[in-house]
């Protein structure tokens, strides 16, 4: 169907145009301001411990295979948002920074050994990790910022990092790629260990 392809291309260009227009209009912003979006978007990207752990979730999803690979990107943002909500309303949660670093180690090792635990176990590990990360972001959320734009930027950046991990993880289809992905897991575990021991 030429028509539908046509429509898809049109929609894609249109979307880009809309984004362009949005960013162009953003800085004229009245109370809706565009500043919140970029600060929300940058926030998850600026913490290396967050970035590596989020990519690790994507990588691991590839090893976990069929249902996990597409359940994770759907459920992950929700659990993360839940953690964020806990952070914002200041539900006491112990040892958040340790939890984050530990999650990087555990996730990194899971990728490095290409572990394939049952889905519930994987979900538990990833879920705990998502709660810790969301919590950290929630407590760090600036009070004065435009909440809507900030939250949007935050969710989009987190999701995109996760998708990057999945895309990179697709290299695991080839034997060499699989080695690369597992090596990445080792690096992530080491980096998490460095954070955990306070070296970095």
């Amino acid at each position: 169907m030429a028509g539908s392809k046509f429509g898809a291309v049109g929609a894609a260009i249109w979307f880009l145009a809309v984004v362009a227009a949005g960013s162009a209009l953003g800085h004229t912003g009245d109370d809706h301001g565009g500043g919140g979006f970029s600060s929300g978007f940058m926030h998850p990207l600026l913490g290396p411990d967050h970035v590596i752990a989020m990519v690790a979730v994507g990588l691991w999803g590839v090893f976990l295979g069929a249902p996990a690979i597409w359940v994770l990107p759907i459920v992950f943002p929700l659990v993360m948002a839940l953690g964020g909500a806990f952070g914002m309303i200041e539900v006491p949660l112990p040892a958040v920074e340790t939890g984050i670093a530990l999650s990087a180690v555990v996730l990194g090792l899971c990728v490095a050994f290409a572990l394939q635990p049952p889905l519930w176990a994987a979900a538990l590990i990833v879920g705990a990790f998502a709660i810790f990360h969301g919590y950290a972001h929630g407590t760090e959320m600036p009070v004065a910022s435009d909440a809507l734009s900030y939250a949007l930027g935050f969710v989009v950046a987190t999701g995109l990092l996760h998708l990057c991990g999945i895309a990179f993880g697709n290299l695991a289809r080839w034997p060499v790629g699989k080695m690369a992905v597992r090596a990445a897991g080792v690096v992530i575990a080491l980096a998490g260990g460095a954070y955990l021991s306070g070296v970095a």
């Binding site: 949005g22 990107p73 759907i74 909500a85």
Partner: protein
């Protein structure tokens, strides 16, 4: 100078038109409410699309009209509620009866119309901008609904759910933030 008059005739009102057209796209709450509605009606099937999209358009028109009668301090919260409900339904991959989706679309449209109502500079400017808002929001909802309706492959199905999940997560964060503001 006739040329002057001409240039003016073409340009007059176009600024208001784009302001109205892009309003639902640059304001995050409106954009996500429309996206969530589009996904919801699109995933619920053709019959729901045919009811939901006109209901959304009608809701926006009603909301724009209401805004000139009542003054509100903004309808961000209803928009986020609508986005949250629709987003959650899409994320959970549930179908709802057409009248539920259409009713939700009408509510979201009304909230959007009130939210997007222009500050009346002049009568013509307000009408131009209002019509553009109806066109812009309906067009966006139609595109998203059509994309969601055309889901055939598995990854497209997952993509729709991921989009729903992002919208739901965003709405949750927004409400947590409001709650945090209250408790501080």
């Amino acid at each position: 100078m006739p040329q002057e008059a001409l240039a003016h005739g073409v340009l007059k009102g176009v600024g208001d038109f784009y302001a109205g057209l892009l309003h639902p796209i640059v304001v995050p709450a409106e954009l996500l409410a429309i996206a969530a509605m589009g996904l919801l009606v699109g995933r619920s099937g053709l019959a729901t699309c045919r009811r939901g999209i006109p209901m959304l358009a009608a809701g926006v028109a009603v909301g724009l009209g209401l805004a000139s009668v009542v003054t509100t301090s903004g309808t961000t919260t209803p928009l986020v509620v609508a986005a949250l409900v629709a987003g959650a339904i899409v994320t959970a991959d549930q179908r709802v009866p057409p009248w539920v989706a259409a009713g939700l679309a009408a509510l979201a449209g009304t909230a959007l119309g009130i939210d997007a109502a222009p500050e009346a500079k002049s009568h013509i400017a307000a009408v131009t901008s209002g019509v553009a808002t109806i066109v812009g929001s309906t067009a966006l909802a139609t595109i998203i609904a059509a994309l969601a309706l055309r889901v055939e492959k598995h990854w497209q199905h997952v993509a729709a759910q991921v989009a729903g999940s992002w919208i739901t997560a965003w709405a949750m964060l927004y409400f947590a933030y409001q709650l945090a503001l209250l408790s501080r």
